[in-house]
């Protein structure tokens, strides 16, 4: 048997399983927010799912802006050394 040893993420179904668990947790965290009243210091914190949405939007923004940034700042690897 010359087959290389199988690793966890070599099986696509494992990846799918992990993603499922992850999504369930996400939903769970959103649902908790309805039932649990937190001590807040700022009015925005009281909005339902504020942290969740802020985190999600922030990251999407981050990536999309960074992609635009690449157009602005990305140059070849030898940019300075060729200077």
């Amino acid at each position: 048997m010359n087959q290389p040893p199988q690793h966890f993420f070599d099986k696509p179904e494992n990846t799918t399983k992990v993603l499922w668990i992850f999504h369930v947790l996400c939903v769970g965290l959103l649902v908790i927010d309805v039932f649990y009243h937190r001590h807040t210091m700022h009015a925005w914190e009281d909005l339902w799912g504020f942290y969740a949405f802020y985190g999600f939007v922030a990251c999407v923004m981050l990536v999309l802006v960074a992609k635009q940034l690449r157009k602005l700042v990305m140059v070849g690897e030898r940019y300075y050394s060729d200077g």
């Binding site: 040893p5 690793h7 966890f8 993420f9 993603l19 992850f22 999504h23 947790l25 996400c26 965290l29 959103l30 908790i32 927010d33 649990y36 937190r38 001590h39 807040t40 210091m41 700022h42 925005w44 914190e45 799912g49 942290y51 969740a52 949405f53 802020y54 985190g55 999600f56 922030a58 990251c59 999407v60 981050l62 990536v63 999309l64 802006v65 960074a66 992609k67 940034l69 690449r70 602005l72 700042v73 990305m74 140059v75 070849g76 690897e77 030898r78 940019y79 300075y80 050394s81 200077g83």
Partner: protein, 562 residues
């Protein structure tokens, strides 16, 4: 006083390391931080040293809560870094590492500006050796740029100190404030070391070029000394709040598109320092405690991440995200420890980052800076994104790059284990750290409010990453250079100099043709202008010398008569 100055054992030890070799050297390397640690534990607050130098009272050693905390921290960091680099067979690196750690200790225990300056510069030089020791052309160039900027910071510190002597008549390093010009200069000097925006590029430029083990030392000391110095000299300076906020936000954009994973860490380091700077700017007891505690934790988790990437670089010789992937198969333990570091830096509950960063966040809101708070929150999400997910994902998971290697040497693993264990320990039981903080802590990190909020933030950040990745919107890892503020001094300035000299050649030769045109070699670069063959420098014929004498005599006589 029966204990030695805190830095003594490191510096003396560094002197002897070159003389011993083999196994004995490894023992000695381990003993130095341990012995020194025992020495520092014996120090008590108020055990200050004083001496007179040029009419000024100097305090080479000042022991109080703040300096002790950093003293303990640096010993811990030095021990971990020394263990991590035990396998290295390069005397220069060992000596440089020890001197570097010793001078960082000297700096945080310094009670006056002269002592601070000495260690400030010693740090600069010794740390530069850790970069140069990589012995590649890139590293040499980066190391020189690094050294120059660090020394510049030292010179500004000294200039500021002299101005303060003029203003206040004392050299003592106490609260400074940016009210006076001397204070402002010192502020900027600290700012350079602290990687303030636009002065941050030395960090992202040089750290990724250091040796795998050198980067671990580097990540622990320089910037943390700067944070200490700011906490000592400028707590409550409002400008710091906004500087800190900018520092947390802008590097994460670069981190997302950067390919060199150690450079990603360098950007995330600026982001973490931003939190500390912000806390110092707020200046309340809670905020300063948070900043200092976060510095403590950052040394550990950033060290851990640096070590895991160092291990990858050591084992595979590669560090670009585009060339890595799938390493969890052959380096599972490293991968696991890297995830611990990632969880800590992302401030997952039960990991160390959580117990300190939340202090800063709360303090920011308490003092009524909601805008800054939103920025920090954004940065928290972002840091999870690039340091918490990107680093482990592209190095150890992602698509398999086909690299097959093994776990790093045992000493590397041990160092990572220690750092990882500390990250988890502090995350679970933060009270020990809280005890050491300069102000009394009345803060409970673990209540449901904080935990749930943080988990929501992090999980949905991760969700964003997952979806972007699945829809292929996520920017791929590309081999490239991303322009940053360094562009000004690495490209614009040299180009300008070249341009000016090109433009000035016709003018200069027109002026000189009458005299001895053929002898004048006017160049296009600085070298031509000031090098051995340039007009002003090349061997002068005696005729020209005498002409100058006569000219100067005439000038003087004219000057005196008029």
């Amino acid at each position: 006083m029966d204990s030695l100055p805190p830095y003594a054992i490191f510096l003396i030890g560094a002197l002897f390391i070159p003389a011993i070799g083999g196994r004995l050297r490894r023992v000695a390397l381990l003993l130095i931080p341990l012995l020194s640690g025992a020495n520092v534990i014996n120090l008590e607050q108020g055990d200050d040293w004083q001496l007179l130098f040029l009419d000024y009272e100097l305090i080479p050693v000042r022991v109080d809560e703040l300096s002790l905390l950093f003293g303990y921290l640096f010993h811990l960091a030095a021990l971990i870094a020394v263990i991590f680099s035990l396998h290295v067979r390069d005397t220069t690196q060992h000596v440089a590492g020890l001197v570097y750690a010793g001078s960082a200790l000297g700096a945080v225990f310094a009670g006056d500006f002269i002592t601070l300056f000495i260690f400030w510069e010693l740090m600069a030089v010794s740390s530069a050796f850790l970069i140069l020791s990589r012995r590649t052309d890139r590293a040499t160039a980066a190391g020189l740029r690094y050294l120059l900027i660090q020394v510049l910071s030292g010179v500004m510190l000294l200039a500021g100190a002299v101005m303060r002597v003029q203003e206040t008549g004392t050299l003592a390093f106490e609260f400074i404030g940016i009210g006076s010009s001397g204070g402002l200069l010192i502020f900027l000097a600290f700012g350079i070391k602290c990687a303030f925006p636009l002065a941050h590029n030395w960090l992202t430029d040089a750290y990724p070029e250091a040796t795998p083990t050198g980067a671990v030392f580097l990540s622990a000391f320089t910037t943390k000394v700067a944070v200490y110095a700011l906490a000592r000299g400028f707590p409550g300076t409002e400008a710091l709040i906004y500087i800190g906020a900018v520092m947390t936000c802008f590097p994460i954009f670069y981190a997302v598109i950067e390919n060199d994973l150690r450079r990603v860490l360098a950007y995330s380091m600026i982001n973490q320092i931003g939190f500390m700077v912000c806390g110092i700017g707020i200046g309340t007891a809670l905020a300063v405690n948070g900043a200092v505690a976060h510095a403590f934790n950052d040394v550990l988790f950033k060290g851990l991440l640096m070590m895991s990437m160092g291990a990858v670089l050591h084992m595979t010789g590669r560090i670009n995200g585009s060339e890595l992937g799938g390493l969890y198969k052959s380096m599972p333990m490293t991968a696991g420890l890297c995830i611990v570091g990632a969880a800590s830096i992302s401030a997952f509950p039960l990991f160390s980052g959580f117990v300190s960063k939340s202090m800063i966040m709360v303090a920011v809101l308490q003092e009524g800076h909601p805008g800054v708070w939103l920025a920090l929150l954004f940065a928290s999400a972002g840091v999870f994104h690039h340091a918490g997910i990107k680093i482990p994902f592209f190095a150890f998971f992602a698509h398999d790059a086909g690299l097959r290697t093994s776990e790093p040497p045992n000493n590397m693993l041990l160092a990572m284990w220690i750092a990882g264990a500390l990250c988890v320990f502090i995350g679970i039981y933060p009270w020990m750290l809280y005890e050491l903080l300069p102000f009394e802590v009345v803060y409970t990190p673990y209540d449901a409010t904080h935990v749930i909020a943080q988990l929501q933030l992090l999980f949905f950040s991760a969700l964003a990453f997952t979806w972007l990745k699945l829809t292929n919107l996520y920017p791929p890892e590309l081999r490239s250079v991303n322009l940053d503020a360094e562009w000004i001094y690495r490209k614009v300035l040299p180009d300008a100099v070249r341009g000016i000299s090109r433009a000035s050649v016709p003018l200069a030769s027109a002026l000189s043709d009458g005299v001895r045109g053929q002898m004048l070699v006017l160049g296009q670069t600085m070298y031509r202008h000031f090098g051995p063959q340039s007009t002003l420098v090349r061997t002068w014929l005696s005729a020209r010398m005498v002409l100058w004498v006569a000219g100067l005599l005439g000038f003087y006589l004219f000057f005196y008569y008029s």
